[in-house]
């Protein structure tokens, strides 16, 4: 932590990359300012409670990391700081309740479904609820899709090129089971045998993002041993899971099973990265030209440095035209549980993102992360725009299979 | 009163200290500036001349302010260098006068004007204090930049005795072209086209012609590439700006002297933006004119300076009268001089310098 703080030379190069800074224009809501605040808290010249609102407003989008010439590992700093603070933190009752809800429901598809049902009842009462709850309700679709379990093993089609397992994801399983389903199909179509271990669950990342360290560790642990040993990779279709798992090293620091966590983390690969390094075999493409905007998920672009993988895949598809947009690297405001914690900022970022997407006049938006997809759909809906937003796995499946 | 020609800074200081009003003349080439100076001690700076420091490899030169521009240019030319702000009237004007009046010529188009090439100065102010402003190196960010302030200051704030400029290597070869347009708007569109293109012109002037408007353009560069560049530029202009006629012109001294063909009792320089030209031009019927530097400077000659002043005022513009008997050399819209007044208060509180 201290290394990260001391490495910061206060040059400000990270400021333009930071969504909250560009929105609020104030130093406390910039990476440089947050580092400074954390430093003051650690040095005990500032109380943690005073600094908290500004740290809470950080999206954790990591756009500041590649922007920093001095190599400040902001991500490590933030995660460690949040873990440290969470242990001591007192939240106001309502906040604490909302957070409890996040911690207790989001990681568990069944509970989440349940909450969602009640949520729908809650929609009628939205006006009476505090903003934090209202925004959570906004995320819920009118009707939850029915579960769409993938078979435990989906055989490769044609020549076998690799064996992988799918990480089920949590919120995503409830909100959009079709994503993993499509991912499995797209992989199989490209010669990959796909396992979906029935007992695997949430990786804990979403809790790590809100600093609920203990719960995160427990969830993560449950997954070790659920996956076959002879697979080439564990595939995630949610960017947040991917980058969260790469933070296991920090999470499991000084834990007895740190080695196991590291081994697990090494196997985890994002869907697009995996397929792009394997190389697409099938690409029938679309009958008519599709104008596509690819929305980078922060946790792929900034946290995992994946700028070109998904784009490379999309560009290989016949009749798919990839359109550039302004401020492509700017967060859409989704950021894990952020649109639940900081609804106003999330909404404004979403509004800006949608505006720059629409300026490119696409007929399809593609992303690699459920959070971004939900956020964009929500924002588009509020502007009354019917533009579809889909996961890259779905688009590739359609393109590979020529929509069987 | 006869002019005195001090030969040293100390002499100038004592002259200022012992006079109520002081008026500086360089070479006296801008006669309009010397009209309202009755009773003032006239300081002739021609004694303060000569190249004081010149290291071609530094791109800098320091000269006495009273010297002729022509002599400076000749010294630079020996080393293949030039003053890119292209002072006007090199044969008649002093270097100090060029700075005081901010008189740059057509080649200012390429790299910038007097303000862009002045680096520092030695001054005697209205209190008789002698001091330096700016620096002698091409880059310097220490202290307030009073050297730039001198540009256009008309000798009213301090007397310049020494000036340091940035200089550049000059091009070995030049080619000039003329494009004719029937309407002013078309000629202006051609300027806008050039402004957004990658053609690098050495100079670009807009001149009324018998049957419309002419754009006079010049390119400068190496022998090897110049003919091809000229060809490409002419072709581009022909394709995109549809001139009614294109001609290659022989280089001659008068071709690029904006004042050569401007006859009239009064000669005025005004700064304006190209888009102000149409409205302004409609108002100055009768004035001879040339819009130099891509339409950013108007050179105007007229016998009716009142009408010209009114037209300038109407367009929110200001002009500097260089020739002719005027009450005040600056005509047209009044300047917002809140900041200039503060400087005056410090450098010449008794208003000695006129």
């Amino acid at each position: 932590m201290a290394t990260a703080i001391e490495k910061c030379v206060h040059c400000g190069f990270c400021l333009p990359a930071c969504p909250t800074y560009s929105l609020l224009g104030e130093e406390m809501d910039s990476p440089r300012g947050r580092i400074y605040l954390m430093k003051n808290v650690l040095e005990e010249t500032l109380s943690a409670a005073d600094a908290q609102p500004y740290i809470d407003r950080c999206l954790g989008c990591m756009a500041c990391v590649p922007a920093c010439p001095s190599g400040v590992e902001y991500g490590d700093l933030l995660v460690s700081y949040r873990m440290l603070q969470e242990r001591e933190r007192q939240r106001p009752p309502l906040d604490a309740l909302a957070r409890r809800l996040v911690i207790e429901t989001l990681p568990y598809p069944k509970r989440f479904r349940l909450a969602a049902q009640t949520g729908r009842i809650g929609k009628a009462l939205r006006g009476a609820l505090p903003e934090a709850f209202a925004s959570m309700l906004n995320l819920l679709p009118e009707k939850l899709p029915s579960p769409l379990p993938a078979p435990p093993v989906l055989p490769a089609r044609g020549e076998l090129r690799a064996k992988v397992a799918l990480l089920p994801g949590c919120v995503q399983q409830a909100l959009a089971p079709e994503i993993n389903y499509a991912a499995a199909q797209a992989l199989a179509a490209n010669g990959v045998e796909v396992h979906s271990p029935p007992k695997a669950g949430c990786c804990g990342s979403i809790l790590l993002h809100v600093g609920a360290e203990q719960q995160a560790i427990e969830l993560a642990r449950r997954n070790f041993g659920q996956f076959p040993d002879d697979i080439d990779a564990i595939i995630t279709t949610a960017a947040g899971c991917g980058s969260g798992i790469h933070d296991y090293e920090l999470l499991f620091k000084d834990q007895p099973d740190a080695d196991r966590a590291a081994a697990f983390a090494r196997k985890v690969t994002d869907f697009s990265a995996f397929l792009s390094s394997l190389g697409m075999r099938e690409r029938t493409g679309f009958a008519h030209e599709r104008r596509v905007v690819y929305q980078d998920a922060c946790h792929l672009l900034h946290a995992q440095g994946q700028q070109s993988e998904a784009r490379a895949l999309l560009m290989q598809i016949p009749n798919l035209r990839l359109l550039p947009i302004a401020d492509a690297g700017m967060c859409c405001g989704s950021a894990g549980a952020y649109n639940i914690d900081q609804p106003a900022i999330a909404a404004e970022l979403g509004r800006r993102k949608v505006a720059s997407i629409l300026a490119a006049e696409p007929d399809l938006v593609v992303s690699g992360n459920i959070g971004c997809i939900t956020q964009l759909r929500q924002q588009l809906k509020s502007t009354g725009n019917p533009l579809p937003v889909r996961h890259i796995a779905e688009v590739l499946w359609e393109a590979c299979a020529g929509s069987e | 009163m006869t002019a005195r020609a001090p030969g040293s800074i100390a002499e100038i200081q004592s002259l200022v200290q012992n006079s109520d009003r002081v008026h500086v003349v360089g070479k006296g080439s801008k006669t309009a500036l010397h009209n309202q100076t009755d009773g003032a001690a006239i300081v002739d700076l021609s004694g303060m001349s000569g190249i004081l420091e010149y290291q071609p490899s530094e791109y800098t030169v320091t000269v006495g302010a009273g010297g002729l521009v022509r002599d400076l240019e000749a010294a630079l030319k020996q080393h293949g260098q030039y003053l890119p702000c292209d002072p006007l009237l090199p044969g008649a004007a002093s270097i100090g006068g060029t700075v005081a009046c901010n008189l740059a010529g057509p080649r200012r188009f390429r790299y910038g004007g007097v303000r862009d090439f002045i680096l520092g100065a030695q001054l005697v102010d209205g209190m008789g204090r002698a001091f330096r402003v700016g620096g002698k190196v091409v880059k310097n960010a220490a202290g307030f930049d009073l050297s730039k302030f001198l540009v256009g200051s008309l000798g009213r704030y301090a007397i310049m005795t020494e000036l340091t400029f940035k200089v550049f290597p000059d091009a070995p070869c030049f080619r000039s072209l003329r494009f004719n347009y029937e309407r002013l708007d078309d000629a202006l569109s051609a300027i806008f086209f050039i402004n957004q293109s990658a053609y690098e012109l050495d100079a670009l002037d807009l001149i009324p012609a018998a049957d419309g408007w002419s754009l006079l353009a010049r390119l400068a560069g190496f022998q090897e590439s110049l003919p091809q560049r000229v060809e490409r530029f002419a072709a581009g202009m022909e394709r995109d700006t549809a001139p009614s006629d294109i001609a290659t012109l022989a280089e001659s001294p008068n071709l690029w002297d904006p004042l050569a063909e401007l006859s009239g009792e009064f000669l005025v320089k005004a700064a304006l933006a190209p888009k102000q030209i149409p409205a302004f031009d409609r108002m100055i019927a009768g004035a001879r004119r040339r819009y130099g530097v891509g339409g950013n400077i108007a050179w105007l000659a007229t016998d009716d300076v009142e009408a010209l002043a009114a037209a300038l005022r109407n367009c929110g513009l200001r002009g500097l009268c260089l020739r002719g008997a005027v009450h005040s050399a600056v005509i047209g819209a009044p300047a917002d001089d809140a900041l200039a007044q503060r400087v005056k208060q410090v450098l010449d509180p008794e208003h000695k310098l006129v």
């Binding site: 201290a2 | 910038g112 102010d125 220490a142 530097v293 400087v343």
Partner: protein
């Protein structure tokens, strides 16, 4: 800061834009020169120039000192707050009000980021020329205060040469406007734009700025040459200048700076004592002709490796290392001081030898990055704040470098300004009378000396230099730094 003043601010600003709590003010404590830290009494974040004007007038009325702040990237403590003073943060004023590609001008608010002007002008084939290394974040207001420049200022000049007009509020609340949309700028009358630019925020606040745009060069040809001797790279620069070429940029980095840049952006620089970057820019045909000449010169200059950028990507890579070199040094050393001095180009070699000797004398590492074309040196002095007395030693070394610059006929700053850091070196460059005149000018504009009080002029209280030392948690054994 009295209650009435705060109350008056409250009538201008909603609570979110009037910062008074510690947690809100701490992040404004320093600019990019972190050796100085001062917490302001309050900060405001105006949304309009009317708010700025009202604020400045209030400050004048209540004799409260203020500091305008752009992005706080000043390297000389220029935007360091004043204790008991007000910070006026201009980042929210970031609109480009007008872009007229035909006349090649833009009218912008002071908080507009330098690079965003170029981004806005790019579709029209234009760009904003001054390119400080910090261009992705520094604001036009800050650029104006320091007359900032960058690697590409040899040909077309610094900020001052690209500002045509301004609306400003002087420190006493007077609002005034000068200059125009003509490339002549002020044109008739003293060049007030030239005077205001470089005044380091001591005259007042720039509210609206008209800048000129330049056509994007059709072609860049960029050469990277590696030398096993720093002096030889310097000689190569003299050879280029003597040949009559006018490159857009000429930059030198020494071994340590190369190492930092490599660690940061992995530009793939050759392993060398010195790297020279020369870039030609302009019309394709002309640049290609010039390039042949340049190649001949560089080949004859004793470089052991020459690389020519063959694509925009390769060019960007060459520059990325150079542009990020300052902050990249943060990877090599826990602490460092960025210096900025100018020497006549012909004495560059001498200066480098002297700096080498000083390095030995102080036992500190110095990385050199410089705009070789205009003799602007940026020595980066590395030290470890944890060692007792290290900061003082580094400061002393920095001071000697500045003295060296003045002795060689140069300047104590080329682009970072005097700010808080170099106040005490002003007498080395200016006589007492010259300083008096500047002071008098300042007081004629700002009788109460409220605008950026304590900067530029020697004397007055300076905040204590901050000794980094051991981190409190480190002392307590909780954390460690490798």
């Amino acid at each position: 800061m009295n209650r009435a003043f705060i109350a008056a601010l409250e009538s201008i600003y909603p609570p979110q834009r009037l910062l008074t709590r510690d947690v809100e003010l701490l992040p404004y404590e320093s600019d990019a020169l972190t050796a100085f830290q001062t917490k302001p009494a309050a900060a405001v974040l105006p949304d309009s120039d009317d708010e700025i004007i009202a604020t400045v007038r209030l400050c004048h009325e209540h004799a409260v000192p203020f500091v305008a702040r752009g992005s706080g990237t000043s390297l000389s403590g220029g935007s360091l707050p004043i204790a008991d003073g007000l910070i006026i943060g201009l980042n929210r004023l970031n609109r480009i009000k007008k872009l007229d590609p035909q006349q090649r001008i833009a009218v912008v608010e002071p908080g507009v980021i330098n690079l965003s002007i170029t981004e806005a002008a790019q579709p029209y084939g234009l760009y904003y020329a001054p390119d400080p290394s910090s261009q992705s974040i520094c604001t036009i207001g800050g650029n104006i205060a320091f007359n900032s420049g960058g690697a590409h200022c040899l040909k077309y000049g610094m900020t001052s040469n690209h500002v045509l007009g301004m609306k400003v509020v002087l420190a006493d609340g007077t609002v005034t406007q000068f200059g125009s949309e003509s490339i002549e700028g002020v044109g008739i009358g003293p060049d007030l734009v030239g005077l205001f630019v470089g005044s380091e925020g001591l005259f007042g606040i720039a509210l609206e700025i008209t800048v000129r745009l330049m056509p994007q060069p059709e072609l860049y040809r960029t050469v990277l040459a590696a030398y096993d001797d720093l002096g030889r790279a310097g000689d190569a620069v003299s050879m280029v200048v003597a040949s009559g070429l006018l490159p857009g940029a000429m930059e030198i980095m020494d071994r340590l700076a190369i190492k930092a840049a490599e660690a940061s952006v992995k530009a793939g620089y050759p392993d060398a004592e010195a790297l020279l970057i020369v870039e030609l820019e302009g019309e394709t045909l002309q640049v290609n002709a010039e390039f042949e000449q340049l190649r001949g010169i560089i080949e004859a200059s004793g470089a052991f490796e020459i690389r020519v950028a063959n694509s925009e990507e390769e060019r960007a890579r060459i520059w990325k290392g150079r542009k990020g070199a300052f902050s990249a040094v943060g990877r090599l050393s826990p602490d460092y001081i960025v210096q900025d001095g100018v020497v006549p180009r012909s004495r560059l070699g001498e200066a480098l030898v002297e700096i080498g000797a000083l390095k030995e004398k102080y036992g500190l590492d110095v990385a050199n990055v410089f705009h070789a074309g205009d003799g602007n040196l940026h020595p980066l002095i590395l030290y470890d704040g944890r060692a007792a007395g290290a900061l003082e030693k580094a400061e002393a070394l920095a001071g000697e470098i500045l003295a060296l610059c003045v002795n060689l006929g140069g300047s104590i700053t080329g682009e970072h300004g005097i700010g808080m850091e170099k106040r005490d070196y002003m007498p080395a460059m200016f006589s007492e009378e010259e300083l008096d005149i500047m002071q008098a000018l300042r007081r004629a504009i700002d009788p109460l000396e409220i605008a950026n009080r304590g900067k530029m002029f020697p004397g007055g209280e300076a905040p204590a230099l901050k000794q980094h030392g051991m981190h409190p948690l480190e002392k307590a054994g909780v954390i460690s730094r490798e």
